[in-house]
Amino acid sequence: MADRRLLSGNEAIGWGAILGECKAFFGYPITPQSEILEFLATELPKAGGVFLQTEDEIAAVSMVYGSSMTGTRTMSATSSPGISLMQETVSLMAYLKVPSVIVDVCRFGPGSGMAQTSQTDYRQVTKGGGHGGYRCIVLAASSSQECCDLVQFAFWLADRYRMTVYVLTDATIGQSCELVDLKTRDFGALPDKDWVLRGLDERGGNGQGIHPHMWDYVGYHEDMNEKYREITENEIKYESYRMDDAEVILVAYGYVSRMAKGAVDLAREEGLKVGLLRPITLWPFPTNVLRELSLQAHHILVVEHSSGLLVEDVECALQGKVPVHLLGIWGTHRRDSSGIIYPERIVEEIKQMVGVA
């Protein structure tokens, strides 16, 4: 029987790590991520894993790197400023093809910003905030259940493609509690980790040279492109909600997508043909899915808790074929950082957009 518990998104992430066979966690406290740290401080050692609070996010990600190099499933979690600090090493892991899972419980940026919910990290995680033009897979969770499941999936993807996978949530998802089925997910077979370094005794060879790609840098970049193409072909994930006859399509992810779902229901009650497309992988981005929708939709409304970041990818995907509207941070119910975009506000925006006032 499934173990069903009331869990915050943060706790669900911790559970996801444990169910996903994560055996090492290195992290540094930061609101609104700290519950993940605190949860794993207690629970991970019980599950036979290593937990360490490091001196900062750079140390955390450096240790993630070192630990992952030994073939250990390793995770870190932080929030926006911490993600910035990790960029140099994330870039290194892209270079050396080291799997890792990093959770970003997004807080309000830029800068020190505020610890409340927002979606202002979109560009950083999807475009590769570090130098070198690499990519990371980005999974956006929108419920506690998904936090638990996507972390497990993230570990699988990380091992499958030997790269960093971000799990992106926000303060709202992180702190809100919902009932979660605690289940171990199986995503299929994985390639052998023949590249790990655990000392010659345990596993062959001095695999890692100072610059493994020194003599064929071009080949390295070609390989990366090939890998990214493969991921874009195979791993795009999204959810369609009440899309069949939708003429107005909402696009949203994370906590906002839940509000948008609520808005779809409210709008449908009022007879408006509204649907929701929720990208689960923010990279790879469901460009083609969106492009097809443009055949059916009269209006696209992107809703996001930021000044407009996701909307850029949506516009780019739609190539000017359908008008794209944005309900951004101004859609929150308060002007200070504690504002939330509620379903009712989205419905108002839809009505204004389609001219039903």
Binding site: R5, L6, T31, M114, A115, Q116, T117, T172, I173, Q175, S176, C177, E178, L179, Y241, Y255, R258, M259, K261, G262, A263, V264, D265, H333, R334, D336, S337, S338, I340, Y342, P343, E344, R345
Partner: protein
């Protein structure tokens, strides 16, 4: 349902969600803090339902428990027509002008002080809420309280807590 303001509010919401977990298939608890990190405003929203909760929260809840002046200003107008307002009248002086909602003014903090612990005002309001809506049996809250505090430092307050849950319900029945 949603509340906003002073002490113990998030605990109350979490408790309700916890208690609701064994009675509803879908439960959502959504806290929200103001911009100043300590002593600032905070609020939370709990949804209990047997259908999947599309949304995590709503601007227009069907009931609100209000424990502060700012909370009143923000949420009094927002409660759904036909909804319910529970107000800690020891703190909030205002009276609603709306005639499309049910209102109970409960001097919860005052009552809690009389009980000996200001901190239990939240439980008084919560039990009043349950008494009005019958969303959950009061026992569910009592159980959740016991689960939470037995064996911890908070255990010594349990009797007081349990008294408070009775008091709120009693206030409604009496009024």
């Amino acid at each position: 349902m949603s509340g906003l303001g002073g002490q113990g509010l998030l605990t109350m919401g979490k408790l309700l969600a916890q208690a609701g977990s064994s009675h509803y298939r879908y439960v959502t608890y959504h806290p929200n803090y103001g911009p100043s990190m300590r002593g600032g405003e905070c609020e939370c929203m709990v949804t209990l339902s047997n259908e999947e909760n599309a949304s995590i929260a709503s601007r227009n809840p069907s009931a609100a428990i209000l424990m502060g002046a700012a909370a009143w200003m923000l949420h009094e107008p927002q409660v759904k027509p036909g909804g319910l307002l529970l107000v800690d009248s020891s703190i909030v002086a205002e009276r609603t002008m709306r005639d499309d909602v049910t209102v109970h003014y409960i001097p919860a903090t005052q009552m809690a002080l009389e009980l000996g612990l200001a901190m239990v005002s939240n439980l008084i309001l919560l039990s009043a809420y349950l008494e009005v809506t019958k969303a959950l049996p009061i026992e569910a809250i009592e159980k959740a309280l016991k689960d939470k505090y037995t064996g911890t430092k908070g255990e010594r307050y349990l009797p007081l807590d349990l008294d408070a849950t009775k008091l709120g319900a009693k206030f409604i029945i009496d009024s």
